[in-house]
């Protein structure tokens, strides 16, 4: 006979005691790390500044309004520059990313020992360094201006596009390539007709998506001197011209929203 009363008394638990202990230790560790981090931040904070943040915000708001709307006309060139930086940077980045992706993909790389790790390293490095740090480096090398911005965007995009494309290459079915090989097609033909058709939609989608991100990034690269809207922003902030800052922020927001809309439309067409 099963003792039903006993069974009903037994409490149901999702985790075993060992699991519960493990979770408790994990939580405790996380709490300790958090407490340390908070103390570290709090120690270097000037609380007087934090407490009057509301006053500062109000003050800034008052300076920003009314926006200096005639200034809008002068922003035409920076907006066009920003679009150029993002677009040319994306194109350049994609052009560099595609050969790297084929070198990095396990299924297409000509050498697993040397070229594959090298290509992967290039892709990781490109992704680890933020485009604004790339811009900082490039402004030192080739001077402030559009070219530094374009190169910064391109160098950052390589890793992003390259990674997603090489993953797509590795996930593509092998059968079409094998089939072409059995019909006597050469390596180039097999890739062109067996693999590229599978990868192409991914390439197009990823490129458009990266373009959208790049528009967002191109609006701020100017802060370190790489051209576009950020340059106008930085000089307005330096001049304490807050009524212009609000105009620039509005234009940045509008640019980003339009880019997002365009990208969403293009991608839904592609899909």
């Amino acid at each position: 006979m099963v003792d039903h009363a006993r069974a009903a008394e037994r409490e149901w638990a999702r985790h075993t005691p060992a699991q519960r202990r493990g979770r408790a230790v994990g939580m405790l560790l996380a709490a300790l790390v958090l407490a340390w981090a908070w103390r570290r931040v709090a120690a270097t904070t000037n609380w007087a500044f934090v407490l009057d943040a509301g006053v500062q915000l109000q003050d800034m708001g008052l300076r920003m309004f009314p926006p200096d709307s005639p200034y809008l006309v002068q922003l035409t060139r920076p907006v066009i520059d920003t679009l150029h930086i993002a677009t040319l940077g994306t194109v350049l980045g994609v052009l560099m990313a595609i050969p790297l992706a084929f070198l990095a993909a396990g299924t297409t790389t000509p050498s697993r020992r040397v070229l594959r790790p090298a290509a992967l390293l290039v892709l990781v490095t490109s992704r680890s360094v933020n485009s604004i740090i790339w811009a900082l480096i490039l402004v030192v090398l080739i001077g402030p201006g559009l070219l530094a911005g374009i190169m910064a965007i391109a160098l950052r995009s390589v890793g992003f596009v390259g990674k997603l494309v090489y993953e797509a290459i590795e996930e593509a079915p092998e059968l079409p390539v094998t089939a072409l090989h059995t019909t006597g097609a050469g390596r180039a033909h097999a890739l062109a007709f067996g693999l590229i058709p599978h990868v192409q939609p991914v390439m197009a989608g990823v490129s458009v998506y990266r373009w959208e991100i790049n528009i967002r990034e191109a609006t701020i690269l100017g802060i370190v001197g790489a051209g576009g809207l950020g340059m106008a922003l930085q000089s307005s902030i330096d001049a304490l011209a807050w009524s212009r800052v609000s105009v620039i922020l509005g234009v940045i927001l509008a640019t980003v929203v339009v880019a997002e809309w365009v990208s969403a439309r293009v991608r839904s067409r592609l899909a």
């Binding site: 958090l34 981090a37 900082l136 201006g145 559009l146």
Partner: protein
Amino acid sequence: MLAAFYGVVAAWTVDVDGARIAEGAARAADFFGGWLRPDFMTRWADIREGLVESVAMTVVATAAGFLLSVPFGLGASKNLAPGPIYAACRGALAVFRAFHEILVAILFVAMFGFGGFAGVMTLGVATVGFLGKLLAEAVEEIDPGPLDALTAAGATWACRIMYGVLPQVMPRILGLTLYRLDINFRESAIIGLVGAGGIGATLITAFARYEFESVSAILILIISMLFGAELLSSRLRRRLL
């Protein structure tokens, strides 16, 4: 055809200054020379301070952002929140994501003063925007069965969320939080450029002083820490899921 035309026109506006690039070549040699001789020692105290502050900022901002993203995310789910709350939360999340971190950091540095606190606020806002949106999307896709069962049994609202919704979305959200931890550390390296503390502040100082050996050392440290973080987070994620 159009694309080629655009390329030509756009390239025309770039204004490549050959003389400036030639001038930069010498600097490039200097720069890459510095790059090849990373100097960890001379500025070690500053670099360590910057890195520790970056890590602290990242941890606080990710934790705070995660906690705040739960109410915002639940509020922005169509199947849980009534119309006005849904609209308000969606709107707030969109605003949090609209501006690049650098722009938010400029605003917060003006509000809270230089240093880590402004950085924490910047990263925290970005984290709420990111996790809140993804949480809302996950909640909208849950299996309604458990929720209906709880409602039928007369469970309170808190109980329904606790046992009907969160168990279905938490593994995914915790994984995304780890991913965001990674992003926040990356971002902490750049918001320092406008005064929001962390390793970015050290980096921009090294740049401004043309100490490329230190710049190289800092970038190497950032990249290797990100490598380590990626290994750690992929391992943690596997255990969580």
